[in-house]
């Protein structure tokens, strides 16, 4: 019996494309699939431990804690099977933990960097140490997460931090001309008190608009045209769907932390000047002694390289490396080239520094 001919008429093709478009625009992709267990929670924050796949005797003894930004979901680190940094590190023998800050409610509007770095992080790390049985650990901070991990590392240098990885870390705010955000939140134009007085927390949608408005054509036009052009390619569609699911899942930023970000960092560059005060204590980056890897995305328009370079000269770490990788703020860890460039470099760097001392 002859096989039925494959119908490829333009109308059927167009219908299929519209069906795919409707699906990716109206549904959420299956993301964050790597098996994990909730091991600690405080307020909205949760600490997850990813189920190890490498036997205990072959695993690296120093656990790795991932700390992402406050205003986005951390599952960008575990986007989808086969394209997940977490899955990659677990497969390479790391005991991986993820600190998810959760979405702050109105009751959290006064949360500051002080609370995140001195109340939440030390307690999460205490739990991590209890579970892993290791007194030492590695920290990876990405974006605002890198600010928090830097503050933590400077305030608690004797806490057992062996390795510190800073990804696209916005730490230096001295170059006002190079920072579009700094211009937007200048006190002449942006009434911070009024905004926080009305909203309490900084709404996720406003932060998302700010990030997208840095490259409006790419984010509001080209991004969708790219999808339209590739609707017949399932690989592109899947990647786009997963990324869109993450991009559209925004969380507010606690009002207190947002105020510090704008006033202390964007407007006054207090961290680099050594003037940032966290719960009465000055944050001195020279107190950071842990091995340091700073990763800079060369095409980063959110955190330009000038914001991450100078930390290398501030810290006291004897073992430090600056790694530049081509790609954008998110692309270096979640883009198609991440598994070829950024992940292997982090894995190699960390592997040699995660053995028993």
């Amino acid at each position: 019996m002859a096989e039925a001919p494959v119908v490829t008429d333009p109308f059927t093709q167009a219908a299929d494309r519209l069906k795919t478009l409707n699906k990716v625009m109206t549904t959420k992709a299956a993301i964050a699939q790597t098996p994990k267990e909730l091991v600690w929670a405080l307020n909205k924050a949760k600490l997850f431990r990813y189920t190890p796949v490498v036997p205990a005797e072959k695993r690296h003894p120093v656990p790795l804690l991932l700390v992402f930004a406050l205003m986005n979901r951390p599952y960008i680190l575990d986007l989808r099977p086969g394209h997940s940094f977490v899955e990659y590190m677990v497969a390479h023998g790391f005991d991986v933990y993820l600190l998810d800050w959760g979405a702050p409610g109105p009751e959290d509007k006064n949360l500051q960097f002080d609370d995140y770095t001195l109340d939440y992080m030390p307690r999460a790390i205490r739990k991590l140490k209890a579970i892993s049985g290791s007194e030492e650990f590695s920290l990876l901070g990405w974006c605002i997460g890198a600010i928090l991990t830097s503050i933590y590392a400077a305030l608690r240098p004797d806490d057992g931090l062996r390795n510190l990885i800073l990804l696209t870390a916005p730490l230096d705010f001295s170059n006002k001309q190079g920072l579009t955000f700094a211009r937007w939140v200048d006190e002449r134009y942006f009434d911070l008190d009024r905004v926080l007085g009305v909203f309490g927390n900084m709404p996720g949608e406003m932060i998302d608009y700010g990030a997208k408005a840095l490259k409006p054509v790419e984010n509001y036009v080209t991004n969708y045209l790219k999808l339209w052009d590739n609707l017949d390619d399932p690989r592109v569609v899947q990647a786009w769907h997963a990324m869109n699911t993450w991009v559209t899942d925004n969380v507010p930023l606690a009002g207190g932390a947002f105020r510090q970000l704008i006033v202390d960092l964007y407007r006054n560059d207090r961290l680099m000047k050594g003037e940032l005060v966290i719960r009465g204590q000055k944050v001195d980056l020279r107190k950071i002694r842990a091995n340091l890897l700073t990763v800079i995305a060369e095409g980063d328009h959110i955190t330009p390289s000038c914001q991450s370079e100078s930390v290398m000269t501030k810290v006291s770490s004897k073992d430090k490396e600056l790694f530049r990788v081509s790609g954008g703020h998110i692309g270096i860890m979640a883009g198609s080239g991440a598994s070829k460039h950024t992940w292997p470099h982090i894995n190699n760097w960390l592997t040699t520094r995660s053995e028993r001392s």
Partner: protein, 146 residues
């Protein structure tokens, strides 16, 4: 030859149009990035945000007042009351977390002490001379069987 022909992409009549479109988008993107980087843009967005907050303020205040009165009349807690409770819950949760960690530490300490005592007892029994009477475990308190 036939394979080569099959591997070649079919002619796409839209390709030249797409190339033109992409070139135009690139140019547009560059000019927009310059625009959003300007002081004028920062000033304009700041003014728009201010205008939005000013216009929406009376409505927001009216809704808040009405809601507060309604909740009062229904003898229900206000938003501020719930927020205050939630803040207190977080403080309690934090103290519980510390107590939990202390209990864990105490448990570990007790376990390690018992292990040390047991090890010492085993070592002592090994050191005791052969034929010496071994200590018998204490019977649990309670009535003895007659």
């Amino acid at each position: 030859m036939a394979d080569q022909a099959n591997n070649q992409k079919p002619f796409d009549p839209m390709q030249p149009w797409r190339s033109m479109r992409d070139a135009y988008l690139d140019a547009w993107a560059k000019s927009m990035v310059e625009m959003v980087n300007s002081e004028a843009y920062a000033q304009a967005t700041g003014a728009m945000l201010d205008a939005y907050l000013t216009v929406s303020a009376p409505f927001r205040e009216a809704v808040e007042k009405a809601m507060l009165k309604t909740l009062e009349q229904l003898a229900m807690p206000s938003r501020a009351d719930v927020i205050s409770l939630a803040e207190r819950m977080t403080h309690i949760e934090m103290r519980l977390d510390d107590m939990d960690a202390k209990l864990d530490a105490l448990g570990e300490l007790t376990a390690s002490r018992s292990a040390v005592t047991l090890t010492e007892a085993v070592a002592a029994s090994r050191k005791s001379p052969p034929g010496a009477k071994k200590a018998t475990p204490r019977k649990p308190a309670g009535r003895s069987k007659r």
